[in-house]
């Protein structure tokens, strides 16, 4: 199986360690991962903010770069949802028939990390070891656009040493919403305050999620308040083993 990593522009720039964790994980399972250097961005920020013509070059590039892979794995529910749900829309509106076909070929190969591990590779126990108290926030796009369901929790439950605690009101939005956090900064902050309160109620040392963008928002708040609660991407917990524990 030819597997490509779609790291996403945000992870590439801000969280290379999440990408390294995905690579380590997949290699531990005996797979070879390719990292196409020509990749850039899924175009979500532009699409969701209403800048559709500006989204087009990113859609075009995505299809070109990831053509021919059996699987394109990404550690972001939000970007996976963008590719799967909206690349078609952009191609239909501004592209041509060739692009529309290219999108149809690329889209079925795109998987969010937990989907790929559970559905495609058929594994839940990755031999991970993480002896810490952790709570999990299911991000909105993973939850309601991709419908990843309890896949991430099944992966986390199989981690040795973990103390997994339930997050109250887990399914309510953290208030990030991409440019929403800038356009409606006060409402975003009010939503963040409630999410942080729920995280603190669990007494967890780590807040885990499958999207670094939501984690940057929540983690940014937790850090500003000096709560001591750290945020961590699902891939990074799964990549930890007894030999290389955090």
């Amino acid at each position: 199986m030819r597997i490509a990593l779609f790291i996403t522009c945000f992870n590439d720039t801000m969280f290379p360690r999440t990408g390294k964790a995905v690579i380590a994980l997949l290699e531990r399972l005996g797979h070879t991962v390719e990292f196409p250097q020509e990749q850039t961005c899924c175009g979500q920020m532009h699409f969701n903010t209403g800048y559709r013509p500006e989204t087009l070059p990113m859609v075009r590039r995505f299809c070109e770069v990831f053509a021919g892979y059996d699987a394109v794995v990404t550690p972001s529910g939000s970007c996976a949802a963008m590719v799967r749900d909206h690349h078609r829309t952009v191609a239909a509106q501004y592209g041509d028939a060739t692009l529309a076909e290219a999108v149809e070929r690329a889209v079925p190969a795109v998987y969010e990390l937990s989907e790929f591990l559970v559905d495609v590779l058929g594994v839940t126990d990755l031999g991970a070891y993480f002896p810490h108290r952790v709570t999990y926030h299911p991000t909105c796009h993973s939850l309601r656009m991709l419908r990843v369901g309890d896949r991430p929790l099944r992966l986390l439950r199989a981690v040795k040493g973990i103390d997994l605690v339930e997050l109250p009101a887990a399914e309510s939005c953290c208030g990030f919403g991409g440019t929403f956090a800038l356009k409606n900064a006060e409402v975003s902050a009010a939503m963040l305050a409630d999410k942080m309160r729920h995280v603190l109620d669990t007494g967890a040392e780590f807040l885990c999620a499958g999207d670094n963008s939501c984690l940057t928002h929540i983690g940014g708040g937790l850090s500003r308040l000096r709560t001591g609660v750290a945020t961590i991407h699902l891939a990074e917990i799964l990549a930890c083993t007894e030999g290389s524990a955090l």
Partner: protein, 494 residues
């Protein structure tokens, strides 16, 4: 009349500013959190009871989409059936025309007051204000609408217009205002819900017994039989629908259903979605007029007011499927924090954010499509499966296009987005930007975190720290550790 004039009260500031005020009202936020939380839990419990809930949703969505595709035909059939049953049908292109028709009809009766059944359509066109200008007083009879009217307030929720008010506030409003409008509240009125309800009951009873003309909206109308339906909780609507001599119903054209049989689906979905009840306490249906029973004159005003234009929108038209249950409001995390007034429209919350800009034109409600995190909870809750997030991003694109058309110079946001697109679609430029960001961050970061910053980053960094980007991006790390020795590594800069 056009643009923002056809839906009342878009005079309020844009959503972010209006929301800021609402967020500071801690009492309102507490009222909202409690009320939406209660309805949300009840709704989940009663929808889980039905094995075929998902199938019902699917059928409802199908019926609505199909009806909208042939709306003209169904409306003509409805007109025929209502007329055959002794009613009169009027067509109103916009709010002004609808208000003129209703005013003329009331004047023809010689009366100078009307009782009203809770109705979103008449709120939408500002009927009470139009009647007042013509010297006709409109009395709201729904308990929550009464609270809003007495308080000189605006509704804050589609179904629970006074959701933002607590018991003690309602007591104050009743004591202060009831006497101005009719029977005053008792001197010793407490804020006990029973006491408050009794005061409203006595106040309203006088009104019902005196009224000669009633004005209502409609939840549904069946085209094959000409039957109009109003669903309610208190029975005050039924009093208005039976006691007066003349009944005038203002109905949005999208409320028509092809057949009476279709009600089977919607009368299951609506109460469960809206109030979390298995069945609403009062369902009133009337077909034209019946000799010596109920109103002897019935007028149905079919209201367009932007709906035909919305129908022409391939993506946006699904908003016309809305049955005004307000389930989307009760699950929306943004609505829960801001309440309804921040939306500046009689249709607040997620459905308001997609319906209002379409009825008035996106340029007149430009901030509303952005009043959402796109979390998708509204789409999951909607009993007729309106893909609200899809319509929101569609309208965002239309808003940006409208701004591009209307301005000689692009907005600063448009310039930033254009620049970002150039960077994010080229691996070479992205690489360079990453190196620059890592370098810049090093200058402002302390212990790997970036604190409050001035300028364009102020709004983000006011409440959140930002992690400093690491020295090496993933692509740079891959190139250094894995790709050494290869010839081409970077993009062609397209």
């Amino acid at each position: 009349m056009s643009g923002a004039d056809n839906v009342v009260w878009l005079g309020s500031p844009a959503f972010p500013e209006a929301a800021r005020g609402a967020l500071n009202d801690t009492r309102m936020r507490a009222n909202l959190r409690r009320a939406t939380g209660t309805i949300r839990d009840r709704r989940l419990a009663v929808t889980a009871e039905l094995d075929d809930w998902e199938e019902l949703r699917h059928r409802a969505a199908e019926i609505k989409r199909r009806t909208l595709r042939h709306l003209d035909g169904h409306l003509l059939r409805l007109e025929e059936a209502v007329t055959a049953a002794g009613g009169t049908v009027h067509w109103a292109a916009d709010a002004a025309e609808a208000n003129r028709i209703v005013t003329r009809l009331v004047k023809a009766t010689g009366e100078s007051e009307v009782v009203k059944v809770k109705s979103m359509a008449t709120q939408e066109i500002g009927l009470n204000e139009a009647l007042a200008e013509a010297g006709i007083r409109a009395y709201e009879t729904d308990l929550a609408e009464l609270i809003v009217q007495l308080g000189g307030d605006r509704p804050s929720h589609i179904l629970v217009p006074a959701i933002h008010r607590g018991r003690s506030e309602i007591r104050e409003i009743f004591r202060r205002e009831m006497g101005e409008w009719g029977r005053p509240a008792p001197e010793d009125l407490t804020d006990d819900p029973r006491d408050l309800a009794e005061a409203a009951r006595l106040h309203l009873r006088e009104r019902f017994l005196r009224a000669k003309v009633a004005v209502s909206g409609a939840n549904f109308a069946a085209a094959d039989t000409g039957t109009v339906v109003v669903v309610e909780s208190e029975g005050n609507g039924r009093m208005c629908l039976t006691l007066p001599q003349t009944l005038i119903t203002v109905m949005g054209i999208e409320k028509v259903l092809p057949s009476f049989v279709d009600l089977e689906v919607f009368l299951q979905l609506l109460p469960r979605s809206s109030t979390g009840e298995r069945m609403n306490p009062y369902t009133s249906m009337w077909t034209g007029v019946t000799k010596d029973d109920g109103p002897q004159e019935f007028h149905l005003v079919l209201l367009d007011n932007g709906r035909t234009a919305t129908l022409a929108e391939e993506v946006g038209r699904q908003a016309l499927s809305c049955i005004r249950c307000s389930a989307c409001l009760n699950v929306c995390p943004v609505y829960e924090r801001t309440g309804g007034h921040a939306y500046g429209s009689v249709y607040p919350g997620p459905i308001g954010a997609v319906l209002t800009p379409q009825l008035v034109g996106v340029e007149n409600a430009a901030s509303l499509p952005f009043a959402s995190t796109l979390c998708g909870a509204c789409y999951d809750a909607c009993p007729v499966k309106i893909n609200i997030p899809e319509v929101l991003v569609h309208l965002r694109a239309k808003t940006v296009e409208a701004k591009r058309r209307d301005r000689l110079l692009p907005t600063s946001e448009a310039l930033a987005m254009k620049a970002a697109s150039a960077v994010l679609s080229s691996p070479r430029r992205l690489s360079a930007a990453q190196r620059l960001a890592a370098l810049g961050a090093r200058l402002v970061a302390r212990d790997g975190r970036i604190g409050p910053l001035p300028g364009p980053l102020a709004r983000w960094t006011a409440t959140r720290d930002t992690p400093a980007p690491p020295r090496e991006s993933l692509r740079a790390w891959w190139r250094r550790t894995r790709d050494e020795g290869r010839t081409t590594v970077e993009g062609d800069g397209r």
